[in-house]
Symmetry: none
Subunit: 134 residues, 4 copies
DNA sequence: GTGGTCTAGACCACT
DNA sequence: GTGGTCTAGACCACC
């Protein structure tokens, strides 16, 4: 896939309270998990990405650095940033493909019932906590 | 219900990245939404709660302050904090009771498939984004 | 031990080619390894340390962030940075106490022979490589 | 000696944090210091070396350029690169031959004790700093 | 061309 | 008063 297209799909909200660099990280991670970004793919350059997202290059750089720490990407000085080849993505894809339909159903229904995003997040967190206990 | 029992159910994780005062707020909100906390119920005192949760009283105070701003609780000088009587909780309960089963099913399945909490959160956020678009 | 004294012992050389934040990290790590810094000890605040070392707070912050990633310290937002309690330092101390005398002897002799620091570093790296091979 | 054999002994690690061109430089310098490379010896061509080490020719060129600046090699247009005839290597060899045994002992012992390479480097740097002070 | 470091300073969030 | 985020921009290092 073209990296240029990817950049256009980012949805960053500077006023959400969630740090921008974290939003960037999460969307890149999700791209990896869904297969939109595949191991070996080169990410856009820091400055280019920063420009297209209207943000400071340092902020993009911070996201890249953290993603590298977490093993999602490999940054080669002077060469660019690449989706890590070590990632076992097929496994993740399978899990996600199986999990998505039910989650989609749950979210759609909740929205139809009028739950706010916040209420939905709290509901999910509560479910996660319960499972952690047992 | 007894407030003492409630306090024992709080699950705060200082290392989750989520601010502690926010975790407290969310769990109190969720308690209201599920009916575990009902309008008129008295919350534990700030110092008591802080002590039992091993956290700074200022942090509890901040959570209470925010909850009051958002209308979830009423703080009466010298008397303590109470779940707001004005809340129309029955409506929320109904919505949540209907939404919970599907969400529970989705979360349980996802966990069985081996998705991490992080992956699940990103999956839901992605679904929320898609609904916002359309 | 007083944190103030520690700060005075830092020896940073901005012109060494080694990034300042790395030098800071290494000296803090070495402090942990020698026992000069013990688990639970609070590090000086970012701004204070930056001031006493005549550098930018962001640079200190970067060192702290990386040290946290590597598990040497725990940074609690609003509270400060602390040597990680999880570190098994006694084991490291023992190893180091046993290794130091020989290394000291080797370095002293090498310097008396007139080896430059660079030559010494290359010598050690060559020895490390040889051991990795076998 | 054959230059071909030398090339096979290079051990470059792109993930060590140390720039590749520097690793190359250091290993050539160390080769000179140990006598593996003697004044007048011809180094492999830039393209050949780059190919055999799977790296960018520019990177090899940079290493050669720096080595020339520092007087370790002489680059003769169209003829290739040669270990500088001006180097007074015998002196260095003697120093190194005397210093190596102790360093070897120190490194071997440290590794047996379980010290990581990082810990060993920090230990030596700390010793160097102490000697500089006194 | 790429990414990395460092500075300077504003503003925010947490305890 | 603590650390965190973000911006702006200079300068360097690497490939």
């Amino acid at each position: 896939m073209t990296v240029e297209l990817l950049a256009m799909h980012f949805r960053l909200n500077p006023n959400s309270g969630v740090p921008i660099y974290l939003q960037l990280m999460e969307q890149i991670k999700h791209g990896v998990e869904t297969g939109a970004l595949r191991p070996g793919d080169q990410l856009p350059g820091i400055r280019k990405l920063a420009e297209s997202l209207v943000m400071n290059p340092n902020t993009v750089a911070k996201a890249f650095r953290e993603l590298e720490h977490e093993g999602y990407i490999e940054v080669r000085h002077g060469a660019g940033a690449f989706i890590s080849e070590r990632l076992n993505t097929s496994e993740v894809h399978d899990r996600l493909d199986l999990a998505r339909p039910l989650m989609e159903k749950a979210v759609v229904q909740a929205r139809q019932l009028g739950l706010t995003d916040e209420e939905l997040r709290r509901l999910m967190e509560a479910e996660l906590l319960q499972l952690s206990d047992s």
